[in-house]
């Protein structure tokens, strides 16, 4: 029998769009997200290019709609473990990790954080700040319900008896004996919107990431600028704690190794330059780029605007750029457009790193029985069926799981996946 329920893997912008559209028809949607919150990567950005709209203001209403939809069952801290069956009749096993805080009873007042005696690095904030063992990754997280990290919670890891958060909660929402669960669901179709990761900067030692404290990844810079970020939007250097005076943004890091252009880095690098000029008008900003990839009707104008704001664009092959220096000052060695070696000093370097397939792509591909392309992303079926079909009927792709793309592209692909699901299941 044909089951018309749908599983959506990943609650980033693509997964959210697909879930909301499907749920609006009355279909039941299981939205599985491995993190404790929805919103994927988009909620990490302060603004989006090129219209510079506030990112959280743009996406939060959609996240809220997911939480309020009667037809969407959101499973956070959850991963897909097993998939059997075929289109119209899939049986899926989901592993749902204990959150230890009830999504129903918690009202998100945040009274439980302060009494928690444990502090640990906040990965969501790129380790630029700390969180408690009971935490929401950043202010404005949705669902606005904390989770407890069982590895660090003293009661849960058995290091000490501690009941501080439970005592602080006025709603009885915390349950330390919460257990991991296995859930079996039956669905007719699956949409894979598992997103992307960023290549590790450690793979490119010539840029000094990890060696010099004031070399940052683009996403770290993004969080430093963000008003809900670790510094509440104050841009101060990791070493020195002062605002930077000369900033070098280096594009295309990892492009050659990955074998493709990530298509969004030019634009987000321009956005970063624009951010920095806005907050630090006197700082020098250099952008080391190769060919500009800014497809589409709105993007080139943004490039022109940023240029006029006084950002220095330097055309320089990325494979010949080196960063040297010490804790405080950095020296960028590069070749200019005339192929002459030059040097430039800066106190902050930002690396625009390539996008790559999500870290769980290989395992998902195996358990879903769908192919990856040679670059590691999920493989689409080309022009015959379209970019959302996989090698297996009933399983569709949306967003960066299929390849690097911007928010508009991810949304379009999510809607296209819904189109396919609707034609197959109706």
């Amino acid at each position: 029998m044909n089951n018309s329920d749908i599983l959506v893997i990943g609650a980033g912008v693509a997964g959210i769009e697909a879930s909301l559209l499907l749920a609006s028809t009355g279909k039941k949607v299981y939205l599985v997200e491995k993190a404790s919150l929805t919103g994927g990567n988009v909620i990490k950005y302060e603004d989006v290019f090129s219209n510079m709209e506030c990112s959280t203001c743009m996406i939060a209403p959609k996240q809220q709609e997911v939480l309020q939809s009667e037809n969407i069952e959101l499973l956070t801290l959850s991963t897909v473990e097993k998939v059997q069956g075929e289109i119209g009749d899939f049986t899926v096993t989901i592993k749902k990790k204990a959150r230890y805080v009830s999504l129903i009873d918690c009202i998100g007042c945040g009274m439980c954080y302060e009494p928690c005696p444990v502090s640990l690095k906040n990965e969501f904030e790129q380790n630029l700040s700390e969180k408690k063992a009971i935490y929401v990754p950043c202010p404005g997280s949705l669902p606005n319900v904390p989770a407890i990290d069982p590895e660090y919670c003293l009661q849960l890891n058995g290091k000490k008896t501690c009941n501080a958060c439970v005592e602080a909660c006025a709603f009885g929402a915390i349950n330390l004996s919460d257990k991991d669960e296995k859930i079996e669901i039956k669905v007719g179709a699956i949409i894979v919107a598992s997103g992307f990761d960023i290549v590790e900067p450690a793979g490119f030692p010539q840029f000094g990431y990890g060696k010099y404290p004031n070399v940052y990844t683009a996403i770290e810079a993004e969080r430093l600028y963000a008003s809900n970020g670790p510094t509440e939007g104050e841009i101060t250097l990791r070493k020195g704690n002062t605002p930077p005076q000369a900033i070098a943004i280096i594009q295309c890091v990892g492009r050659e190794q990955q074998g493709y252009c990530s298509s969004v880095c030019c634009m987000y690098s321009l956005k970063l330059a624009h951010y920095l000029k806005h907050k630090l008008p006197d700082a020098k900003i250099y952008n080391f780029h190769s060919d500009w990839c800014m497809p589409g009707k709105y993007n080139q104008k943004f490039h022109q605007d940023v240029k006029e704001e006084g950002v220095d664009f330097i055309y320089s092959p990325v494979d010949k750029i080196k960063v040297e220096g010490n804790d405080k000052s950095l020296l960028i060695e590069y070749y200019n457009g005339k192929d002459e070696k030059e040097k430039l000093s800066a106190d902050m370097v930002i690396l625009s790193l390539a996008m790559m397939q999500g870290k769980d792509t290989a395992s998902l591909s195996k358990l879903l029985g769908i192919e990856q392309d040679k670059r590691g992303f999920f493989m689409n079926q080309g022009i015959q069926l379209g970019s959302v079909d996989t090698s297996k009927p009933g399983i569709f792709l949306a967003g960066c799981a299929e390849g690097p793309k911007d928010i508009q592209g991810s949304i379009t692909q999510a809607e296209a996946a819904v189109g396919k699901v609707m034609s197959y299941l109706s």
Partner: protein, 566 residues
């Protein structure tokens, strides 16, 4: 029956209870005399949003026969829908309730308890004052037609028609030219990483022709499209025969009107139209597809070819996205036919945004194609010889000779886009393409509900992305326009009072949704409630105060503010 108002304060655990004096609030609110004796009951509860709290509220509404409900709790963003649903459960019209936010606005931000309490009381009084002026609003249901009009039978229009047509849904596919398939049918090949060959396009064309739920009108144009999402009345005209008109109704419209190429004659330095053997990429595609050959005007095969990218990019103000890739494709055509040919590609930036593009570039380069990044470029002719004179990025001027020059002109909106936009009441953006409802979150929709845009009519794009747009419209329409199901339009809409309207038509010029029409006979503007989204533009701009927004009337706002600042 006189008004019976119930006021309920939520403790929100300690969040509100510890920060404001709820007892004092209840005492003062019970004694609030404006409006006199209408407050039947004022009570607190520990957590109104909980299931138990919602049941409590529902009981209270019924038991006390409340006509109006005021809740003092959290942000409407959190629980407005929750409490509206409680109202619906009890038959209290949900627009006769008001949520006052005393948590984010008072308890959480004011350290001094007395001050927080005073502000909370003021806000609640404002809420009470407003709620009595609120009117019950009723959700309406509209019948809808599931059929769809698709304008343009290029690859995007064809894919959209195939995605939409079905047993219960008819598609009307309208094409200006005499055949369907669009520009893609002029290509010899599509990019290798986009599929196997062009047969797939022919198969899709055949599938459209054979689909009994798709009706094709070639050599036809849309003459009229009037109505709103779910109910559009369409008139088509035959381009050659004025009397052959077709009329039908659809629920949605998809504009897939495609693109034009920038005319390189506008930039004389490329020599197009003046110098022999300077071609556009599309001309080369067409001749290759028709004859299988790429030859000079003299009939001889070229020994050297220069391919120039980015023609018109600066003039148009954007990068057309697809040109780099198709120029590699043309270079590969030439290399296949004439392995010894000398090919140079002149480019400004190589734009390779798809995951497989870079590999195609490397492959082209490895086949012996020379790539030069230029700053300035011009095509010159001396005697019978043609030259490309260019300035490299380092400022050095150089020149090479070439027998054939192929230009990659920018993609621009199709001819007639402006007329189509006017006809459908949608907007063009600053580049002349159709403007999407939201640049990021709603790219295939427009500001007019039920009118969608796909393919290169929205933005320059390649074949797979045009197809993806078409499938995305499938996702939108198949979920929103379900055969047999009614549409529920926005309830909070504006109204124009016939008595006050002077017929100045200011409102028509500010309405972004085309929701207002002008009744010439009565000399008044009228709001079509099925289209209005309640943005309030007309209300703010009406010089005679004839327009007002339901649920946000001047009286309601005035009464609320009056109490808030008392």
């Amino acid at each position: 029956m006189s008004d019976r108002i119930g006021v309920y304060v939520c403790e929100c655990g300690p969040n509100i209870a510890d920060k404001v004096d709820i007892k004092k609030i209840l005492t003062e609110i019970s004694a609030f005399n404006e409006p006199p004796e209408k407050i039947i009951i004022a009570k607190k509860h520990k957590l109104l949003c909980s299931k138990e709290g919602q049941d409590f509220l529902a009981d209270e509404i019924i038991k006390n026969e409340l006509t109006h409900l005021v809740i003092a709790a959290c942000s409407p963003r959190d629980h407005d829908i929750t409490f509206m649903n409680v109202c619906k459960r009890t038959d209290l019209n949900p627009y006769l309730y008001k949520l006052v936010n005393i948590r984010e606005h008072c308890a959480w931000i004011i350290p001094d308890k007395d001050e927080a309490t005073e502000k909370a009381i003021q806000y609640i009084r404002a809420g009470i004052s407003r709620v009595t002026y609120q009117d019950p609003l009723i959700e309406k249901e509209l019948d809808s037609i599931p059929d769809v009009l698709v304008i343009g039978a290029g690859i995007a229009g064809i894919e959209a028609s195939l995605s939409l047509a079905g047993e219960n849904r008819k598609v009307y596919l309208v094409e200006r030219t005499s055949s369907i398939g669009g520009k893609v049918t002029k290509f010899e090949k599509i990019l290798p990483h986009q599929g196997t060959n062009l047969d797939i396009i022919q198969e899709k064309i055949k599938a459209v022709q054979e689909n009994e739920n798709i009706e094709i009108f070639t050599e036809s144009e849309v003459e009229k499209a009037i109505g709103f999402f779910g109910n559009f009345e369409i008139t088509l005209k035959n381009i050659h025969n004025d009397e052959q008109n077709n009329e039908f109704k659809v629920g949605a419209i998809v504009a897939a009107t495609g693109f034009n190429l920038f005319n390189p004659e506008k930039i004389p330095r490329y020599g197009y139209g003046k110098i022999e053997d300077v071609y556009t990429s599309l001309e080369i595609e067409e001749s290759n597809s028709k004859t299988g050959k790429i030859l000079l005007k003299s009939g001889k095969p070229p020994k050297s070819v220069a391919l120039i990218h980015c023609v018109g990019r600066e003039e148009r103000g954007y990068c057309s996205r697809v040109c780099c890739n198709y120029m590699f494709k043309i270079a590969q055509y030439l290399k296949e036919k004439m392995p010894d040919i000398k090919i140079t590609e002149f480019y400004k930036d190589l734009c390779l945004p798809n995951k497989a593009d870079q590999e195609f570039f490397v492959d082209t380069k490895n086949k012996g194609v020379n790539f030069i990044r230029f700053k300035d470029i011009a095509v010159k002719q001396k005697d019978k010889e043609k030259f490309i004179e260019y300035t490299k990025m380092d400022g050095k001027k150089e020149k090479i000779s070439a027998e054939m020059i192929i230009l990659a002109p920018a993609i621009e909106p199709a001819e007639g886009s402006k007329e189509i936009a006017e006809l459908l009441n949608i907007s063009l953006d600053e580049t002349g393409f159709f403007q999407e409802a939201h640049q990021k979150l709603n790219p295939v929709a427009t500001s007019i509900d039920g009118v969608f845009i796909v393919g290169t009519a929205q933005n320059p794009k390649n074949i797979p992305d045009s197809m993806m747009d078409a499938q995305a419209v499938g996702g939108k329409i198949l979920t929103q326009l379900i055969p047999g199901e009614k549409l529920i339009p926005e309830v909070i809409v504006s109204e124009i009072s016939e008595a006050f309207c002077t017929g100045c038509q200011t409102c028509l010029s500010v309405c972004s949704y085309g929701a207002i029409y002008f009744d010439e006979d009565r000399n008044i503007s009228i709001v079509n409630e099925a289209i209005c989204r309640g943005c309030g533009n007309c209300v703010a701009s009406c010089p005679s105060g004839a327009a007002h927004a339901k649920h946000f009337t001047s009286t309601q706002i005035y009464q609320e503010v009056l109490e808030a600042i008392r």
